[in-house]
């Protein structure tokens, strides 16, 4: 799939924002006043920034408002509705903590649950697609949630918790890549099933339907070389987990180190998200592939 910057930034930033909200709702860190203002500012900046980036992906922005209407069937719609509700619930909680000096725990806990649900619906936009076997597996939502809460832990400056979480995340991300590699073959989709001609012989492309590119090819036929992907996986996992985990768990706790860990983790997250799209094969490519 085409790794469009708008969707990479959308999923990465909004995930981090809602991950941070999740921790803030639980009172970790337990901050009030100006400190709380700083934390909530960061959370809103990431969550809202991510959502705005997703709007850049739309070819007909004026109809975006209708996207709140189909929550009964559409995960994309659910994601929109849930993110707005979450941001509103946290507005109440944040005002209490920043200006009044009280912790409205009910709003905090409800907000944390909603933040996780929002990230879950984001992940389901991709997981639900049977047409993209690499995404269509139970580990996808688990990874999205883990990215959110470990990134959130890093942002909320909880080095030990974040350190442990990113170790788990790195292991599962690697497993996800391995499992993802086998997914396409598991679906059994080939040029034979795509054309329905499998039992007549080996089906090969003779001539494509069009010599020029089109929307389907641009969006769904993005290909990345195997070797290239393997290198990027190594880079991503080093940045997401290995180095930050060493900095957070092995080195003596310090603010500058935590910030370095955060920056590396963010770079790793963006690399991994780029791979999430670039490596995903769509079944429609069977109509175009030569063999």
């Amino acid at each position: 799939m085409h790794p469009a910057p708008s969707v990479i930034i959308f999923t990465a930033l909004s995930g981090l924002g809602f991950g941070l909200f999740m921790w803030l709702g639980l009172g970790a860190p337990d901050v009030y006043g100006m400190q709380a203002f700083g934390m909530f500012f960061i959370a809103y900046a990431f969550a809202v920034g991510g959502l705005l980036a997703s709007v850049f992906h739309l070819a007909n922005k004026k109809n975006a408002i209708y996207s709140f209407s189909q929550w009964q069937t559409s995960w994309l719609s659910r994601e929109g509705v849930l993110s707005v509700i979450t941001l509103l619930v946290f507005a109440v909680f944040a005002i209490g903590r920043i200006f009044v000096g009280v912790s409205l725990d009910f709003f905090g806990y409800a907000g944390s649950a909603l933040a996780l649900l929002t990230v879950f619906s984001t992940s389901m936009i991709y997981t639900q697609l049977k047409t993209v076997p690499r995404w269509n597996m139970p580990l996808t939502p688990v990874l999205f949630l883990l990215y959110a809460i470990s990134g959130g832990a890093l942002l909320s400056m909880q080095p030990r918790v974040a350190g442990v979480l990113i170790v788990v995340l790195s292991a599962l991300q690697w497993a996800g890549w391995m499992m993802g590699d086998a997914r396409f073959a598991q679906t059994g989709t080939t040029k034979g099933t795509a054309t329905g001609l499998a039992d007549r012989g080996r089906v090969r492309m003779f001539e494509s339907a069009h010599t020029a590119r089109n929307y389907v090819l641009d969006e769904m036929a993005y290909r990345i070389g195997r070797k290239h992907a393997q290198k990027l996986r190594l880079i991503a996992i080093t940045l997401i987990g290995v180095v930050p985990a060493l900095l957070l768990l092995v080195a003596p706790p310090s603010m500058p180190l935590a910030i370095v860990a955060l920056v590396l983790h963010l770079a790793g997250l963006l690399t991994a998200r780029w791979l999430f799209f670039a490596e995903a094969e769509h079944v429609v490519t069977t109509y175009y592939a030569h063999d």
Partner: protein, 247 residues
């Protein structure tokens, strides 16, 4: 709305005969023409005469080659592909705006362009590449089964079929109600063993494809290949060959 109907009164769709299709792309052109001048945003072309042309089409014709498992001669199959108006259309349920829907009355899958926000998720959800986002209008385009022809009383009766069906010079495209077992198209599908594309995706396509009929076989062995006359050049030609190589 984007909830799929449990049952539709009719299942209108196409039956495409892979045996008779000659791959002329007539249906592609007729489809583009009709759908550019009628319902909804026109199907745009960008940089049509330039170095990197791109355009929106609702129907495209591929060409495949089948190499039989028994080693017999290969066979070319022309393969038109447009929306299959699936019963379990994944493109409909993913749509966040309610722009995509499946009609209860006839099962046609349509896009309401006044609601579509151009997110493209429905095109991702379609296994068949049947949806294309128009680069100029910014809305999702797909085969409408020519809704503006099939019920159109301003057209002479013989024209009240999809443009692609009407234009096909080989009679390879058939239109009708696949939900009615007694319809001409249903009988054709039963008789010729009509197939679903990518059944493993669980979309339950309404459109069916009729596989190519078995080819004629020769009743005598084909003539042997001609004997090779000369493996290597000799005499003057050999000298010329060497001389040219040395240059």
């Amino acid at each position: 709305m984007t909830k799929l109907p449990t049952e539709t009164q009719k299942k209108l769709g196409l039956v495409i005969d892979l045996d008779t299709c000659v791959g002329c792309h007539g249906c592609v052109t007729a489809c583009k023409g009709w759908n550019t001048q009628n319902y909804g945003a026109p199907l745009s072309d960008v940089d049509a005469y330039g170095a990197d042309p791109e355009g929106t089409f609702l129907n495209r014709v591929f060409n495949y080659e089948i190499a039989p498992h028994d080693g017999g001669p290969s066979q070319t199959v022309h393969f038109p592909k447009s929306c299959l108006h699936c019963e379990d259309a994944p493109c409909v349920t993913v749509c966040p705006t309610g722009a995509s829907y499946k009609r209860v009355s006839d099962g046609i899958v349509l896009v309401n362009e006044d609601r579509c926000m151009g997110c493209g998720l429905c095109a991702w959800a379609c296994p068949y590449g049947a949806r294309e986002l128009d680069a100029v209008a910014g809305v999702m385009k797909k085969c409408t089964l020519c809704v503006d022809r099939i019920y159109n009383e301003n057209l002479p009766e013989e024209d009240r079929v999809p443009a692609c069906v009407r234009t096909c010079p080989a009679g390879a495209r058939h239109f009708g109600d696949l939900g009615d077992p007694d319809s001409e198209v249903s009988k054709l599908v039963a008789e010729r063993g009509g197939i679903d594309l990518m059944p493993e995706q669980g979309t339950k396509p309404v459109n069916k494809y009729l596989p190519p009929r078995p080819r004629d076989t020769l009743d005598k062995t084909p003539p042997a290949a001609l004997e090779t006359v000369a493996e290597e050049a000799t005499g003057f030609l050999a000298w010329l060959d060497k001389a040219l190589e040395r240059l």
